[in-house]
């Protein structure tokens, strides 16, 4: 009957051929021994003893040999015991009934007993797998237990493929696999992973590869693939296949459990490093800012007396240092990848005016105009981040334009985007500089001292945090033109 179950029992009883031999020898020996006692023992009783022997055999042998024993013993009983002796002819009608009954009972007993044993054996295998999977405390241990149990139970070579927790798909089997695969096998395994369907030798899909691959599916997403090589057999037979499916189900839940554990561990580590980052960042920010704040405030109170010039110089230098420190902190926040804009409704006019107000001391005497249409709807932005972006653009304008330049800020909404421009009537940019302007630490060649090349890369970072874009160009009428475009919801300002 089942080849693979024969394999299961190989260790205790032996190969199929040996089983048939054992069955035949037992039946022949018992029959021979009984032959000596007939008569006085009536030949009908012999059938009971032979039946007993077949029942005993069915406790250890496979179905095939048991049926063979039943058949052989029926024939022997007929040939040697039922009169007329030494023929297969049966004289009496009662003997015919007896013979047929004997044959049927022997076969049924044999088959049923073997089936019960088989079922118990499967339950035992499944139990062992479950226990080993429960004991496995990592993804690697689950993979190893899966390979070990499938190999042992089904007599195959097994490869296990696992997708990583980050959703990266495998390229090769797990190292504990006993099946050696080639690149084609691995490609088929990946196909099985994505399509969550069996493929390989035993099925119609991609039968050209030697192993058969089974998807290991979790409740939400695929977890991996199990590949088995059945060796000389073409496939597992129909009775064993459900057991393998059962195995794969158990393996899937163990894998999912370990993935969740792993995720929990990672989250804990991440939270810890996040906390460390925040603590470090806030302590460094504090250490850098505090002395600068003290200098700025102190210098400001110096400018009242007759040391105006010196106090003023200190104040200007301190404010420059302050901007540098804030720029460095901003770029650090940006590069940490932890900057999430807090989007809220903004009045664009408010936003631009607020930036101008805060950049006023740097802008000096430059005239600044803001141009916002009266019916400009509200836009959804992070007010503080975008204000800083505009301050940086204004500081930039004040660094690269003459003291009597005019700076214009404008805002409008165009097809679901807030479009903001900052332009001046200064000298503009050399064409060669345009594409480097937003690169960190880049400064236009020949520009005067007083900048670090961070301001514009911060603008770019803040705008990109809003999923927007910033571009620099020379305005048709001359002068620098920065255009910021940010996708945004809008809300009318008239109720």
């Amino acid at each position: 009957m089942t080849r693979s179950l024969a394999v299961m029992m190989r260790s205790s009883v032996g190969a199929p051929a040996r089983q048939y031999a054992v069955a035949a020898v037992c039946v022949v020996l018992l029959s021979g021994a009984l032959y000596a006692f007939v008569p006085p023992v009536p030949y009908q009783s012999v059938s009971l003893l032979l039946l007993f022997a077949v029942a005993l055999l069915s406790l250890t042998l496979d179905v095939g040999p048991v049926v063979a024993a039943a058949t052989l013993s029926a024939l022997i009983w007929n040939f040697f015991f039922i009169p007329p002796h030494f023929t297969l002819v049966i004289g009496q009608t009662t003997d015919i009934i007896l013979f047929l009954t004997y044959f049927v009972i022997a076969s049924i007993t044999g088959v049923l007993t073997t089936r019960v044993r088989e079922r118990e054996h499967r339950a035992g295998e499944l139990y062992r797998l479950t226990r080993e999977l429960v004991e496995a405390a990592s993804l690697d241990a689950v993979a190893a237990a899966a390979v070990r149990n499938i190999d042992r139970t089904f007599g195959v070579r097994t490869a296990v493929y696992l997708s990583s927790i980050d959703g990266e798909v495998f390229t090769m089997p797990h190292p504990s696999s006993t099946l050696v695969t080639n690149g084609r096998d691995d490609t088929v395994a990946a196909w099985v992973y994505w399509n969550e369907r069996k493929a390989g030798r035993a099925v119609d899909i991609l039968p050209s590869v030697r192993p058969t691959f089974y998807p290991v599916s979790g409740p939400r997403y695929p977890l991996g693939v199990v590949g088995i090589d059945t060796g000389p057999r073409e496939r597992l037979d129909a009775a064993t296949e459900p057991l393998l499916q059962n195995f794969i189900g158990q393996i899937a839940s163990a894998l999912e459990r370990e993935q969740l554990n792993e995720l929990t561990r990672r989250t804990a580590v991440f939270a810890e490093s996040e906390k460390l980052y925040r603590t470090l960042f806030s302590s460094i920010s504090h250490e850098l800012r505090t002395p600068v704040a003290a200098i700025v405030t102190a210098a400001e109170s110096l400018t009242g007396g007759n040391v105006t010039d010196i106090g003023g110089e200190i104040r200007i230098a301190a404010e420059r240092l302050h901007r540098l420190v804030e720029n460095l902190l901003d770029i650090t926040r940006l590069e940490s990848g932890r900057l999430a804009p807090a989007l809220d409704w903004c009045d664009a006019g408010d936003l631009l005016r607020s930036a101008v107000l805060k950049a006023r001391t740097v802008l000096g005497d430059r005239a600044v105009t803001t141009d916002v249409p009266p019916d400009m709807p509200l836009v959804k932005l992070d007010f503080v981040l975008m204000e800083q972006a505009f301050i940086n653009l204004l500081v930039n304008a004040s660094l690269y334009t003459p003291a009597d330049a005019v700076v214009t800020l404008a805002a409008r909404v165009e097809s679901g985007h807030g479009v903001f421009t900052v332009s001046d009537n200064g000298p503009g940019f050399p064409e060669s500089a345009l594409k480097h302007l937003f690169t960190k630490f880049y400064r236009v060649p020949g520009s005067r001292a007083g900048g670090t090349g961070l301001g514009l890369s911060i603008v770019k970072g803040f705008v990109e945090a809003h999923k927007g874009t910033v571009a620099a160009s020379n305005a048709p009428a001359g002068g620098a033109l920065f255009t910021i475009t940010i996708p945004t919801e809008t809300h009318p300002t008239e109720e």
Binding site: V296, T297, E300, A342, D344, D347, V372
Partner: protein, 230 residues
């Protein structure tokens, strides 16, 4: 304006404490210094301070916690000191009962103006007048009338409610959440577009130049401050 009650400064940075003290003493205020939250709370309880300047980043007790404990018994003004990127901290502190804030580095003039304004509001709280004037605008809170120059200004009930909230809290910074809660009620929490839209409308009706608002001033990332002018 000077008074006998001292100003308590709670800041862990010795230089900041000294700067604040010399600036305020020059203006005639008496000053007490505390270098941490525990000491600050103890001094606040033993001495009858009339204003507290509180740094949010203290080494022992979090500034927000100091504020919370102060507010369980003290009604006098609290001005918060914070770094530039601390808007969320400022909003939380304002919503927890702080009266005003200063972002470091601040100008000494700014500090003095905030202290004066906070004390003036605190002492004036009892004599609430129903009529307020600013620029050419006159608001009668009882009669629900507003005039600009000699012309009556027509306001919707919501606009009037918003304007009277500003007028009653002159000089004080009001967070977006507080304004929403006071004018529109708790159900409108999160509907932040309303404050922007209605502030815009009030500016159009009341400001001389709505593009250069002088009375309803925007506080970046925090809210608005109503100022009746110099």
């Amino acid at each position: 304006m000077t008074s006998n009650a001292p100003i308590l400064i709670i800041d862990d940075e010795v230089q900041m404490r000294r700067l604040l003290r010399s600036t305020l003493e020059n203006e005639g205020y008496k000053v007490l210094l505390a270098e941490n939250g525990t000491d600050g709370l103890r001094q606040a309880e033993s001495a009858r301070a009339e204003l507290v300047i509180l740094d949010l980043g203290l080494p022992d007790i979090d500034g927000h916690e100091v504020l919370r404990r102060l507010r369980t018994w003290a009604a006098y003004p609290v001005i918060i000191l914070s770094a530039r990127t601390g808007e969320q901290d400022i909003v939380a502190a304002l919503d927890a009962g702080a009266n005003d804030y200063l972002v470091k580095p601040f100008r000494t003039g700014e500090l003095i103006a905030r202290v004066r304004s906070a004390l003036r509001i605190f002492h004036a709280a009892s004599r609430a007048s129903s009529v307020a004037s600013f620029g050419g605008v006159r608001v009668d809170l009882d009669a629900h009338t507003v005039t600009k120059g000699d012309q009556p200004v027509k306001l919707t009930p919501t606009e009037f409610a918003l304007l009277s909230l500003f007028v009653r809290n002159e000089g004080k910074v009001l967070t977006h959440a507080y304004i929403l809660q006071q004018v529109w009620g708790p159900k409108f929490e999160g509907e932040s577009q309303y404050t922007r839209v209605y502030v815009g409308q009030l500016r159009k009706k009341l400001e001389d130049d709505p593009n250069e608002p002088k009375f309803i001033v925007t506080e970046s990332g925090i809210g608005y401050r109503f100022s009746a002018g110099e």
